[in-house]
């Protein structure tokens, strides 16, 4: 069953067509990837999915319900979490506080509860705390929970971002270039983590990535786009041997210049 279905999605800015009539879907429980050359419109697609951009037309169905033109925070509440291409941590806050942001949409205490520390509020805080620590433990950062986020090593900051996304208790996790800036060992850990998130937490994963090695290793289905259009879809092997994909990345063999 498709967890996410995108039909005929289009986005344009000031007459420039960033995405043109795009269709694809992500199966529940799968690890899917979106790839394409620079400027192909991948991050724009993520921004449409998560509500940061209003698509010009088209339909996005998540978990059976349309989420087009919903506000980002509502989409997150529906169970879609994302990470950012460039780290977007809350820099001056602690690691644990960062992760707690994810639980915001799964809790409800307001100012009155906070001021009077009602029973409900205290229990909720304890629940937030506990769950966030579990998330940190999952990515292996529990020991760093009280450190200020910006003081962590880059790779660890990336993991804080994942823990934060996990804390929203998503059904679908969108990862925007999760491997950017990671070294070889960290990439290996990332692959392992992605698999664990899917296998242990049963969270569907959809990622954009430039590191083809990583994409080929983890993804079950790869969608390739170029100029905002889908040019291929399939598993790693199919994609690697797809002439259109090779052309999109390496250029056409028969291009005559001189």
């Amino acid at each position: 069953m498709s967890l996410l279905e995108v039909n005929n999605l289009a986005l344009s800015f000031a007459g420039l067509h960033v995405i043109k009539a795009l269709d694809f879907n992500v199966e529940e429980g799968s690890i899917a990837s979106l790839i394409g050359p620079n400027g192909a419109g991948k991050t724009s697609i993520f921004n449409c999915l998560t509500g940061f951009y209003k698509p010009t037309s088209g339909e996005i169905v998540f978990n059976g319900k349309s989420i087009v033109r919903r506000k980002p925070h509502k989409i997150t509440r529906r169970g879609m979490a994302r990470t950012f291409q460039n780290l977007r941590l809350f820099k001056s806050m602690t690691v644990l506080e960062n992760v707690m942001s994810g639980m915001h949409c799964r809790s409800s205490a307001g100012p009155i509860g906070a001021i009077f520390r009602t029973d409900f509020q205290q229990k909720e805080e304890a629940r937030i705390n506990e769950f966030c620590e579990t998330c940190l433990d999952f990515v292996g950062l529990l020991g760093e929970k009280d450190r200020v986020a910006s003081n962590l090593a880059y790779g660890d900051q990336r993991r804080v971002e994942w823990a934060r996304a996990l804390a929203t208790q998503p059904q679908l996790l969108l990862l925007d270039e999760p491997a950017a800036g990671l070294n070889h060992d960290e990439k290996q850990q990332l692959i392992e983590l992605i698999n664990r998130i899917r296998d242990e937490l049963k969270i569907t994963i959809f990622l954009i990535e430039h590191d083809m090695g990583l994409v080929m290793k983890v993804s079950e289905k790869i969608t390739v786009i170029d100029y905002g259009e889908k040019i291929a879809q399939g598993n790693a092997e199919e994609i690697q041997n797809n002439q259109k994909v090779i052309e999109a990345y390496l250029g056409k063999e028969e291009d005559e210049i001189v």
Partner: protein, 238 residues
């Protein structure tokens, strides 16, 4: 053998905590076209930005025509004839084509010379002449690329750094752009070309370097590289 125009020596850069370039070295000789290849995020654009002074390198040296320009501010580097045409063209949308070109010759005092160079640009890109009073925001992708290249030619460059001139362009436009690259080279401009479109780039280039995660992994003669299967792997993984 011609003179070395650009020499990169063990260059390292960081974006915050990301180690973007991990010590790369290469040279460009006068009159050559050198291709810098690699997948997205490999560090190609970073290399160009470091050379043109848009970002500071953390260590290593950049020498241009014998001068060390590692710490020279970007606007002074331009005066030496080293011009960078950035990724995404970065034309001045909201200004006309003529104005864009004029800004390309900002460092030039002589108005007659400016006129002469603009005529030359218009000769190479007749389409720009047709639309010279139009707002550049309404140009197509290919026209924008031509404008970006035309603008750089207004400075009379000796060394041109071209960052993905084919990006987002239809195939016939890619060919057109590449023809112009060749023409410029014939006019005596040395070119350092960053391309994702490896096939095209290697056809033009004399020399090629392939970057992977901030390091040069393959280097060699363009003709040899064209046959090298490992390039595909560098792009599409194993």
């Amino acid at each position: 053998m011609s003179n070395t125009i650009l020499e990169i020596d063990n260059l390292e850069t960081h974006y915050g905590k990301i180690h973007a370039l991990r010590g790369i070295s290469f040279t460009v000789r006068e009159g050559q076209i050198v291709a810098l290849l690699g997948a997205n995020g490999a560090g190609k654009s970073t290399t160009l930005r470091a050379i043109s002074g848009l970002i500071r390198s953390t260590s290593g040296a950049i020498r241009y025509m014998g001068d060390d320009i590692t710490r020279t501010p970007a606007h002074d580097i331009v005066k030496k004839g080293l011009i960078h045409v950035p990724e995404g063209r970065k034309i001045f949308k909201g200004m006309t084509i003529t104005e864009n070109l004029e800004l390309g010759s900002f460092t030039l005092e002589d108005d007659a010379e400016r006129k002469r160079r603009m005529d030359h640009v218009f000769e190479i890109f007749p389409i720009l002449y047709e639309r010279r009073t139009r707002d550049s925001a309404f140009l197509s992708g290919g026209e924008q690329q031509m404008l970006a290249m035309g603008r750089s030619m207004m400075t009379n460059p000796k060394l041109l750094l071209l960052d993905e001139p084919s990006m987002g362009l239809a195939p016939f436009l890619v060919q057109q752009i590449m023809k112009i690259v060749l023409r410029l080279n014939k006019e005596g401009v040395t070119i350092l070309l960053v391309e994702q479109n490896a096939k095209v780039a290697l056809k033009l280039a004399d020399h090629g370097y392939v970057l992977e995660t901030g390091e040069i992994v393959i280097r060699g003669d363009a003709k040899t590289l064209q046959q090298d299967e490992s390039i595909v792997k560098a792009y599409l993984g194993e």
